[in-house]
């Protein structure tokens, strides 16, 4: 059970040996102190040196802004508490976190004492068992809790301290000031964020465990089975993650039906289109349907939702508008916008039945049926939670923080609204105290001369972090990994470690002709590459091109109706790109590490989603 340290085929730097980037000295103060790899505590140092720390490139393709650390701390707590203290996952406690030059590294913490594991088995059976048995009912409760939390967030008012409090404060004998309410609103805002993340992990690791178990069992029966064929067996289940894209298609259909799609096509910009549409009855009808779709479906981040700069459709209506125009154009061309869901389901059923027929014993067939059923039960949550948390909640949350930032800007604590992200959330709280006490007292806040200077320095540090390539892992690989979350998202195998080590070696991107990632969706395709670094660039895609992206999210959905294959820098077989490509039946290679650096727009590439190989035809 113990994490035995044996030399692995791939080697990674020691965690304490990673060199600081010149000019960033002192960067540690941008992050919580417990995230540092330490040298002054021998016991902690040994623990760190003997561990194996994965760079969490899946969630953090970029270094973390000090404020954006909130979600990392939130999931550090949430995932770990469920494993260790709530469900008592038998062989593993939580997942520990560290930071190197702004990049997050994580390691699962194994339970080493076999007696303790045994004791935890009984607890897990009782506690996790309750969740598996009542999954659907508890998931319904979960949706209610999430909707309530989001409603609270949306209702949260961020008051700017007024020059003079309203008279009603006196006549209603309120006894509280808006300065106090600002502090409280900020606390409530942070609290809602942490609470939302408490819910995020309520089901997630149990879902992953069920999923990993099904995968393990399939691999025991069929040692050669490709991972993405296991995931294909649970594909084709309708999940709400597709709904935002469906809404865009419906709006496109509505525009064509009402005959207003010409107006849409005549305007690049939504605002000017809106003005034109308001002049006609059908135009106003269409605008009404557009407004209706926005809540909640346009709370879709254009990124993963993990970073403050991942803006939602609601923040920039030109993003969904461009997709609607594209869909409307496709309808006019006579193309079908339907996802080939029936075809995917037929393919899924064929794969399931063929593998099932190859199972040699009735006992194993019964286990296969049971585990497949459980995997299908947990699958919708594993997908849908993303909409509620990373997209809907986060999109609203970032804007609430911007409201706080606007007040700080108005009081001279920061120069620009978007500077707020360079402060840790505790520093913001400190600054707000500075702000409200100065406001109450009638003096200037001290922070006016503290934060802007610090932010200038932090911006330079972040730029250096951006330019740095974090090693895919540090420390010593263990013999095995037992933590479900780590297994699913990082697909940790010998092969993947070797692949990571290879990714490190891509030193000459100009001359690379072959590299590889994880097979995300089977099949092979050849075509012209289009590198899209952000969702804004998706509109440049031409039909039949191969999308090369850092990662994708639901707001990238329109891209998938155009492309022939997809390649991403980060992500595993359960990443958005892999799932969507399987649904569309097109090849995907994910988690390549550096595809966006190696491939140039216009190059011919061959993508083999079955083997994970990518070839640049130079």
């Amino acid at each position: 059970m113990a994490t035995v340290i044996t030399p692995a085929p791939a080697t990674f730097p020691a965690p304490h040996a990673v060199e600081a980037i010149p000019g960033t000295e002192g960067w540690e103060r941008m992050y919580p102190y417990q995230y540092q790899f330490v040298t002054d505590d021998p016991e902690r140092h040994d623990y760190e040196a003997n561990g194996f720390w994965f760079y969490d490139g899946l969630h953090y393709p970029e270094p973390l802004y000090p404020f954006d650390m909130i979600w990392d701390e939130a999931w550090y707590l949430a995932l770990s508490q469920y494993n260790t203290r709530i469900f008592s996952v038998p062989p593993v406690y939580g997942v520990d976190h560290r930071i190197i030059n702004g990049y997050i590294y994580i390691t699962p913490v194994p339970v080493k004492d076999p007696k303790e594991i045994e004791a935890r088995v009984a607890l897990f059976m009782e506690r996790a068992g309750y969740y598996y048995e009542n999954w659907d009912a508890l998931e319904t409760k979960w949706v209610d809790k999430m909707k309530k939390t989001i409603a609270e967030l949306e209702a949260l008012k961020i008051p700017a301290p007024p020059e003079l409090e309203d008279l009603s404060v006196v006549t209603d004998a309120v006894g509280e000031s808006e300065g106090y309410h600002l502090l409280k609103a900020y606390d409530d805002l942070i609290d809602l964020g942490i609470r939302c993340w408490q819910y995020h992990f309520e089901f997630l690791n149990l879902g992953y465990a069920a999923y990993v178990t099904f995968m393990d069992f399939c691999q025991k029966l069929f040692p050669d089975i490709p991972v993405q064929q296991v995931t294909q067996m649970i594909s084709g289940i309708d999940v709400i993650m597709y709904q935002p894209d469906e809404e865009l298609k419906n709006l496109a259909r509505g525009a064509v039906e009402r005959g207003v799609d010409d107006t849409l096509q005549a305007h690049q910009d939504f605002e000017s289109a809106r003005q034109a549409l308001e002049g006609t009855g059908p135009g106003r009808e269409w605008l009404a349907s557009f407004e209706k779709a926005r809540y909640p479906w346009f709370n879709i981040s254009t990124g993963t939702g993990w970073y403050h700069h991942d803006r939602a459709w609601n923040d920039d209506l030109n993003v969904p508008f461009a997709s609607i125009r594209m869909y409307a154009g496709k309808i006019r061309e006579g193309a079908s916008l339907e996802r080939p869901i029936e075809q995917v389901q037929r393919q899924r059923d064929r794969i399931v039945s063929e593998y099932r027929n190859l199972i040699a014993t009735d006992a194993d067939r019964a286990t296969f049926d049971q585990l497949l059923g459980t995997a299908r039960t947990v699958f919708p949550y594993v997908e849908n939670h993303l909409f509620y948390v990373e997209h809907w909640f986060h999109s609203v949350f970032w804007n609430k923080v911007r409201e706080v930032a606007a007040i700080m800007r108005d009081h001279g604590l920061i120069e620009d609204l978007e500077d707020v992200w360079y402060l840790r959330r505790a520093e913001i709280k400190d600054a707000l105290w500075d702000l409200v006490t100065a406001w109450a007292t009638g003096v200037k806040p001290r922070g006016q001369k503290v934060w802007p200077k610090e932010i200038v320095w932090r911006k330079a540090v972040m730029e250096k972090f951006q330019a740095w390539s974090p090693p895919p892992a540090v420390g010593t690989p263990p013999e095995k990994i037992q933590e479900p979350f780590t297994v699913v998202l990082w697909g940790v195998t010998n092969d993947s470690l070797d692949a990571w080590a290879r990714i490190q070696d891509v030193s000459d991107p100009e001359n690379v002709t072959e590299f590889s990632g994880f097979p995300g969706s089977p099949g092979a395709a050849e075509g012209v590459a289009r590198v899209c670094r952000t969702v804004d660039e998706v509109s440049r895609l031409a039909d039949g091109e191969i999308l090369v992206a850092p990662t994708t999210s639901p707001s990238w959905a329109p891209a998938f109706t155009k492309i022939r294959a997809c390649v991403t820098d980060v992500g595993g077989v359960m990443s958005h790109a892999a799932i969507v490509c399987r649904e569309y039946g097109m090849p995907a290679v994910v988690g390549t590490g550096h595809a966006t650096k190696i491939i140039k727009t216009g190059q011919r590439v061959r993508v083999d989603g079955t083997t994970g190989a990518i070839t640049i035809i130079r």
């Binding site: 794969i351 990994i481 940790v492």
Partner: protein, 360 residues
């Protein structure tokens, strides 16, 4: 039932239930055809043809006379008797009907292959009941790269004569089988001039995974692969999606090609620029896998198959299966479950978490 059994018949008319008429080898070629595989065309000289030949030449009496008094332990006498009997057989004429039949089938075979005097393999196809094991049967003669009617007839006789090697005679004596009641069929089959050849398992022979197909290949004839003289290219295909999932291309320094003059294969160097290229293209791998799957389904068990791709035959009809037999390593193991089938999902989830994922 009243119809007299044919003296000669096409492989298409052979099947496992015609084994007494065409012998094991020809019957299995017929079965392969029925399974939907492509096999090199050819025909069988049946045991009816064999019996007619033997009886018309009064060979059974001759055999009885020579072999009955023999002591199975007197090796020298056995050798002399074997040589005498075989000489008698090899010098005996075919009836006009049989000679015409063989000649006519050979001519039609050549016509079908678009090659006058097409090269063929002539091999015995034992009816097997009187033989100790398959490997012994395999010792009966096979003659490769035979061309022209006269040579074909001569080698059919030689195959018949191979029933009377000293070893076979001694074996029958010891076992108490009658020396003149054994029968043999002879197969005449177009030679495949292989560009590439090898073996195919309809499972992964290393892991026993039934969802896999593993194909080993080298340029030239399959003997370099079968004998293990070269490290062949290896391809893993997924039987369910019919995709190549793994390819290992090796350096193939030599292969076997035909020496037409000496009517045998010879070792030849693979040109340096071809040594490291893939010896079977993907389309061919998929065609092989489809044939392999059909054969497996026909036999209802994992198979071990020899195959070749003919360089003289146009693309699209040039991939041939030469032989198929049940895979013996995993195929003979009783099916054992990896789970109890009675646990709950939770039981398996706990077990799977404790087992963890191997990393190093």
């Amino acid at each position: 039932m009243n119809a007299k059994p044919p003296l000669v018949c096409w492989f298409e008319d052979c099947a496992s239930d015609s084994l007494p008429l065409v012998g094991g080898k020809n019957a299995s070629l017929g079965e392969l055809l029925k399974a939907g595989a492509r096999v090199p065309p050819g025909f069988a000289v049946t045991t009816a043809g064999f019996r007619q030949f033997m009886e018309q030449n009064h060979l059974p009496e001759c055999i009885r006379q020579v072999l009955e008094p023999l002591d199975p332990d007197d090796t020298a006498a056995l050798e002399r008797a074997s040589a005498a009997v075989r000489r008698e057989i090899e010098q005996a004429p075919f009836s006009i009907a049989l000679e015409d039949a063989i000649g006519e089938f050979y001519r039609r075979l050549s016509l079908h292959c678009c090659m006058p005097a097409t090269p063929v393999a002539v091999r015995s196809s034992a009816t097997a009941e009187d033989l100790p094991d398959a490997s012994f049967a395999g010792q009966q003669d096979t003659y490769l790269w035979i061309r022209g009617v006269d040579d074909v007839l001569e080698h059919v006789r030689r195959c018949i004569a191979s029933l009377y090697t000293s070893r076979a005679i001694a074996y029958r004596k010891r076992m108490g089988f009658a020396q003149d009641e054994v029968a043999i069929s002879v197969g005449v089959q177009k030679m495949v001039d292989a560009y590439t050849a090898g073996v195919m398992f309809t499972l992964n022979p290393v892991t026993g995974d039934r969802s896999a197909i593993v194909i080993d290949a080298n340029f030239g004839f399959g003997e370099s692969v079968v004998s293990g003289e070269v490290t062949p290219d290896q391809f893993h295909l997924n039987k369910i999606t019919m995709e190549v999932v793994k390819r290992t291309i090796c350096r193939k320094e030599f292969c076997y090609t035909v020496d037409l003059e000496r009517q045998c294969s010879r070792r030849a160097e693979v040109p340096a620029e071809r040594q490291s290229i893939q010896s079977v293209v993907d389309e061919e791998l998929l065609e092989l896998a489809r044939m392999g799957t059909r054969v497996e389904r026909h036999y209802g068990r994992p198979m071990d198959i020899e195959w070749a791709i003919d360089k003289e035959v146009p693309e699209g009809s040039n991939i041939f299966l030469l032989q198929a037999r049940p895979e013996t390593v995993w195929g003979s193991k009783p099916a054992s479950a990896v789970s109890s089938g009675s646990g709950t999902s939770l039981d398996y989830i706990v077990a799977s978490m404790i087992a963890g994922r191997k990393v190093s």
